[in-house]
Amino acid sequence: MIDFLWNPILKKTKLQRTVIDKLKENILFQDLNPAELTWLEKIVHLRTYQPGEVVFKQGDLGVGMYIIAKGTVNIYVEELNPQSGEVKSQLVTQLKENDFLGDLALVEVNSRRSATALCQDECSLIGFFKPDLIEVTERNARSGVKILFRLSEVLGQRLKETTSKITVMRKKLQEKELKA
């Protein structure tokens, strides 16, 4: 009913089509069919940010992930220098259109953001949060399973990368110890 009041009947707006296209390009939603993507478009949240605006801060409670539909988002990690007591902000990475951030918060309990996300220019972000994921699984279990499988794949990939990095670091440390 509300859709009828706010949107033209049976006609997808340009904005709706953009959101659907962006969702389709994202790994988490790539298994969904067009009907499921159209349905999902009504669940996700499109947010716009000004240049310099914070998306989330390191240590904030995180509820979900964002897909960059337009613009560039800089990721900073803030580190406290225990000697001087100063907080140093360091640019870790720069995320562009179609990249996504904060996906760990979808599955973590009381998740805290591990970095600060700051918009470099005017950004449009598609938010997909834990309550949305729960709604998807409750209302359309088939789509929910497809998303959760892909999410597990992404998290598994991350775990694999982290493990291999730790292995390399451990080897280097052992070599250093042997030399000493």
Partner: protein
Amino acid sequence: MKSLLALSLQKQKRIQTFFFALILLGIVLLLSLVHNLFIMFLLSLVTFFLLSPAVNFFERRGLSRLNATLIPFLGMTAFFAILVVYFSPSLFDQATSLQEKIPAYLKTFQDFTGQWQTKLASDFKFLPKDLFQVPLQDYLLNWLGSAMAGLPEILSQSLTILFLVPLFAFFMLLEGRVLVRLILQFAPNHLFELFLNLNYQISSQIGGFIRARLIETVIISLVTWVGLGVLGFPYALLLAVLAGILNVIPYIGPVIGALPAFALALSNPELGAPYFWLFVIYGMGQLIDTVILVPFLVAKIVNLHPVTVIVSILVGAQFMGILGMIICIPLMSTLKVSFNSIYGHLTEFRNNA
């Protein structure tokens, strides 16, 4: 340049926050100022939370949201139709019979209180005589008279509510999420995740609470009905429904729910004073409630300190009478969830500022 940008962002943030607060305030004012809207909203919410698992179930089976909403609604209508057809004649007969017998009961009650007043006045002669000449029956008659006078208005209001609540609940189930999403669109970016999470936490907590309490009401009503029926006590169905509904009020609800049965036994000597069996029946209901229903259904959902519960009941009773006592617990848990989330967000915000 950078500080100018920061200033403009700050200004925008403040404007967005102001408008979002205005929208929320508008909703609260609308609910509290428009006659009967708050009660209708509450009852629609109860229907919404009761039916939403069924709607989601049918939607999962591949039905459209409209059809998935229509099926439980038709089911509920059929259920109420059966209830009305089978139980309303019995309930109506009981209510009519009670109405006819009230003068006789009042007479017995008047004699009973008169005897006690005389006895107390002779036993405690040192106390002022006026103290024992309180016209209890006059108070009771006045109260009954005013209740009867207000009955047509209450009935017409109830009919409006009964007609509009299913309509509201239907659209809540069909488009409620779209409406929430629309309101959240106006939330400023720095508050968006907080409000989204708050909405989710409150909905899941209150939904669970309402469903648990409804199951509890049905079970307590059934146990009391069966017990009173076996005892052959009059107005068993009426008393059982009353006990089930009032049981929702923590601590004092079960006592208020049992009082009419004891008052009836007191004013009707023909019943043979079955006080012991009444204790057993209502006690059995409470035992099932305390040992089985509360630990498994309710306790994990609303975790409020007993003192908070009692204070909430008193405040609810002060503002909205019996209805206030029933809704105070879900309202208090909503406030608790909101306070914890907003406080956590604010302190986090300060830590990071």
